[in-house]
């Protein structure tokens, strides 16, 4: 067939369903059509689903492009981006675009997607109000997030929750307003929805359920929203995510049959036989669509029809839902609750671990599943549901999962891919079965997840099934893959918060007790959980717990920093960055006496001696101790440095004595153990020469007192502090700082610095605990002082005295 005899196909809408249809068509009938695509957006087609991940910072726009411009070119497709079609004339079989192009067609495909539903609210047109549908919306949100503004999201469905979480991850305080009493009410029952709301609240989102928005407030731009019950929520960004509506304007104007969506038959053709439609713009047998899985089915059928197959029939598949919020596992499919007496519910609930599973059965068949916290068996339940399998024989065990239900399965936990039948659907988004994946791996010799994604599309849409695909790959090729560890580490399924809570409530005071009572899978724990447990116990029982050196990282065990050649560095404390001639002389003497190769001023306003051999450490410390110097804990998950500037003592701009305050803070906090390292700084005026606004606790002195801010980080991910409070006296600074420190010590996860911790729990929470609750603040500060009684012992002096001597001597020499 030469180019001139090809038929002309025009595709309107460069989105997920339209382009999938084109891909299917190219696979079936590569030369049948000359294809022209019009897209309203200025981009090549991309994975809309992944906008949530872009918002949350897990992916970039480049990562989510499905077909690049080169792909269109390579397949001979003419692509007009940023040029929406403005009219279709079925009589002359032409379309007209915004830029004025008029193009004739033989076949036309409508894939215009849907539009965000916008409620008729006053203020909707204000700048600062956005929907969540495309790259432009996502960019607008990211821009607002960069300014650290406040956000309110209207709508507690999948989209609203993902938007809220993404914004939260970007550091914005986020409130979510939902019309119904529970979240995601179309996908979750009340119980699962409550667990979800609780988890997200713990992660710092604020919810207003049963909240009806009355208006968006603001004069020139959005300033917040007002609810019908009078409550007001201030916000500079308002995200409306209450639903979608099929985009039918063009079809309607062209005289096609349109109901809620563009009406199509089982052949995906509209009321005009030369015009097809796929995606969220269509209505099929009264149903409209909002998830991609059925669209892929439509694309297949539509492409088959356009390629000349007149047998292909579209049937809507059963649908399942998952929420793409990292660390939150939700699954639902089918019926959420028993609807009458013939329906039965099987429920499993473990509230301590936040796990809830429910199956709805009817006549010994699964008709619905709702899962929260543990969704491993979601795919299996879904398969049983779609197969209408008789479950009478496994009914008493099936709620515990496939492994328990099927005694022939030998797998322990995890997904047993060996036992999985070939027709089990692994990738719900793309409708790919286990058999199809195995066949592709074998036929094409695939060895990586990316290759499997590329060849089968499994795992390439929402990505939730990637771990199963990976397991199938491993099983088929015989390679071993590591099981994914949930929670603290591979030794337990519990999370950090669970473990901390149980240590206190069950009064466990040794690591062995924790591992035994909480069901650790390993006798000794591992290099991940042992340091965490050691810290959690130390923090909970400062007076009683005996520190376990063998569970500490080498630096904390020997109180020096290991270097790449196995030697150590030694950093004595210089309180607030102050030193004296005598101290400097002692350091110089030590450097000479021990032949120390490098002496350096650190970024923390003190001096580091590099290249000390391990066996020399006690002698080096002894000399430094003699000159009055103690460990600077430069190695510790504990207080590191308190940087200061000269302040009112010398500086012409200084408003308070920042140096002296820095020294007081360092004397208050040195020696403390914390989830991660903690750094402070005090600047004498807002010029901020001590860089206080990128510290865990930063103090900026002003004429009227002291501005305390927290949660800053100058490390891998730069984060400025959030303002906590302004106080008038130094004593108040010490009290607020001690209280903040203690709450962080008691509640953060091991290896979580204050910056991510503050982001996780939210500044409102920190303010409520440290500023608004005066009694709570004083109590927390007192707990900190109590624990400091046991912590403020110079570890160097202890070792000079002989503690842990085995660390610094070899056992024997065989020469």
């Amino acid at each position: 067939m030469n180019a001139h005899s090809r038929q002309k196909l025009i595709v309107i809408g460069n989105g997920m369903a339209g382009m999938r249809t084109v891909e299917e068509l190219l696979a079936r009938a590569p030369v049948r059509y000359d294809i022209t695509v019009f897209g309203a957006e200025p981009h090549p087609n991309y994975n809309r689903i992944m906008l949530s991940s872009v918002l949350a910072g897990e992916k970039t726009i480049d990562d989510i492009v499905i077909n690049s411009r080169e792909w269109y070119e390579a397949n001979g497709i003419t692509l007009h981006t940023g040029d929406p079609v403005t009219g279709i004339d079925p009589a002359t079989k032409t379309v007209r675009s915004a830029s004025g192009l008029v193009v004739p067609y033989d076949a036309l495909l409508l894939s215009t997607g849907s539009k965000p539903l916008m409620p008729p609210l006053p203020g909707l047109e204000l700048p600062g109000v956005v929907a969540f549908r495309d790259i432009a919306d996502t960019d607008a949100m990211l821009e607002a997030a960069a300014k650290k503004q406040r956000a309110v999201v209207i709508g507690g469905g999948l989209l609203g929750l993902e938007a809220a979480w993404g914004l939260k991850r970007r550091g914005m305080p986020v409130a979510l307003v939902h019309l119904m009493p529970t979240l995601m009410e179309r996908q979750l029952d009340v119980e699962a929805a409550k667990l979800l709301q609780k988890d997200l609240t713990e992660r710092g989102l604020h919810f207003f359920t049963s909240g009806q928005t009355e208006e968006i407030m603001g004069a020139d731009r959005a300033e917040g929203i007002k609810l019908t019950d009078g409550r007001e929520i201030p916000a500079e960004l308002v995200v409306v995510a209450i639903g979608i509506r099929p985009n039918v304007d063009l079809a309607k104007a062209a005289g096609l049959e349109v109901n809620r969506g563009i009406v199509v038959g089982d052949d995906m053709a509209t009321s005009d036989p030369s015009i097809y439609a796929v995606g969220e713009c269509v209505e099929h047998r009264g149903q409209i669509f909002g998830l991609v899985a059925p669209l892929w089915e439509q694309a297949k059928v539509c492409a088959a029809r356009m390629a000349g197959d007149d047998q292909a029939i579209y049937v809507t598949p059963a649908l399942s839902t998952r929420l793409k919020i990292t660390g939150i596992d939700v699954f639902s499919a089918g019926q959420l609750v028993a609807q009458d007496e013939a329906d039965e519910e099987l429920v499993y609930r473990d509230s301590a671990r936040g796990i809830y599973k429910k199956l709805v059965l009817r006549a010994d068949k699964v008709v619905g599943a709702v899962m929260y916290g543990d969704v491993e068996d979601g795919a299996w339940y879904f398969q049983l549901m779609r197969d209408k399998a008789d479950i009478a024989a496994i009914r008493d065990r099936m709620i515990f999962g496939q492994v328990y239900a099927d005694v022939s399965c030998k797998g322990k936990g995890g997904i047993d891919v060996a036992a999985m039948a070939d027709d089990v659907q692994v990738c719900g988004c793309n409708g790919v079965s286990k058999g199809a994946i195995v066949t592709a791996i074998k036929a094409k010799g695939l060895t990586s997840l990316d290759e499997v994604k590329a060849h089968t599309k499994a795992g390439s849409s929402c990505g939730q099934c990637a771990s199963v695909v990976q397991a199938i790959l491993a099983h088929t090729t015989g390679e071993v893959v590591e099981a994914k560890a949930a929670g603290l580490c591979g030794c337990t399924d519990l999370g950090h918060d669970d473990v901390r809570r149980e240590i206190v409530s069950q009064e466990m005071k040794t690591m062995a007790a924790v591992r035994a009572k909480l069901g650790w899978r390993t006798q000794d724990g591992c290099a991940k959980c042992r340091p965490a447990l050691n810290y959690y116990l130390l923090c909970a029982w400062p007076a009683e717990y005996v520190d376990h050196g063998q569970s500490r990282f080498i630096n904390e065990r020997v109180h020096a920093n290991i270097q790449k050649d196995g030697t150590y560095s030694v950093v004595p404390r210089m309180w607030g960055g102050l030193t004296t001639a005598a101290e400097l002389r002692a350091i110089a003497d030590v450097a000479d006496k021990f032949n120390i190769p490098t002496v350096k001023v650190t970024g923390g306003q003190r001096i580091d001696l590099f290249g000390v051999k391990k066996e020399q450490l006690p002698a080096v410390w002894a000399d430094l101790n003699k000159a009055g110097m103690v460990s600077g804990h430069a190695y510790a998950k504990g207080l590191r440095t308190v940087k200061t500037c000269v302040g009112s003592e010398w500086c012409r701009f200084g408003t308070q004595d920042s140096t002296a305050l820095g020294v007081k803070l360092e004397k208050l906090m040195w020696g403390s153990w914390t989830p991660h390292k903690v750094k402070l700084a005090v600047s004498g005026c807002p010029r901020n020469c001590a860089e206080a606004t990128i510290k865990d606790i930063g103090i900026i002195c002003v004429e009227a007192g002291y501005d305390i801010s927290v949660g800053g980080n100058g490390g891998i991910e730069l984060r400025g502090t959030d303002h906590l409070v302004r106080v008038a006296t130094e004593d108040e600074v010490l009290e607020y700082a001690a209280a903040f420190m203690q709450i962080y010590r008691e509640e953060a996860h091991y290896l979580e610095r204050t910056a991510p911790w503050v982001e996780r729990v939210g500044m409102d929470y920190v303010t409520a605990r440290v500023v608004e609750d005066a009694a709570g603040r004083k109590a927390a500060a007192a707990r900190f002082l109590f624990s400091q009684k046991y912590a403020q012992i110079d570890p160097w002096a202890e070792r000079v005295e002989g503690m842990d001597a085995h660390e610094f001597q070899s056992l024997a020499e065989v020469l």
């Binding site: 085995h806 001597q809 070899s810 020499e813």
Partner: protein, 111 residues
């Protein structure tokens, strides 16, 4: 010549810890597990030579202090996904004393 040499007592090594031995071929690390098993190997991580004696011991593995490779105490092999191997030294525990099979030295001194 390889020979069995008594290098110290089990009680000299902390549980879940390690001590080092200086030998002509280099430093050897001797490990003690929580079940009082003893293992020995040259004290160089197959990755970048990190001192394994300074790592955290759990079960029958040690995590290297420099970049966290996990080395099997019994075989000296790095565990997946890392690849590499450290030379092990045969060891024995007799009546609370630790013996290693090493190149015979002229002199043994205990630290």
């Amino acid at each position: 010549m390889q020979t069995w040499i008594k290098i110290g007592l089990l009680s000299d090594i902390p549980r879940l810890g390690s001590r080092t031995i200086e030998t002509e071929q280099g430093q050897v690390a001797v490990f003690r597990t929580s079940d009082d098993e003893v293992f020995a190997m040259f004290n160089r991580c197959p990755h970048k030579g990190g001192p394994l004696s300074e790592g955290i011991v759990s079960g029958r593995v040690v995590a290297c202090p420099l970049h966290n490779w996990v080395i099997d105490l019994a075989t000296g092999e790095a565990t997946a996904p890392d690849k590499g191997c450290t030379r092990t030294v045969p060891s024995r525990l007799v009546d609370g004393a630790v013996w290693l099979e090493l190149k015979a030295g002229r002199q043994v001194s205990h630290g």
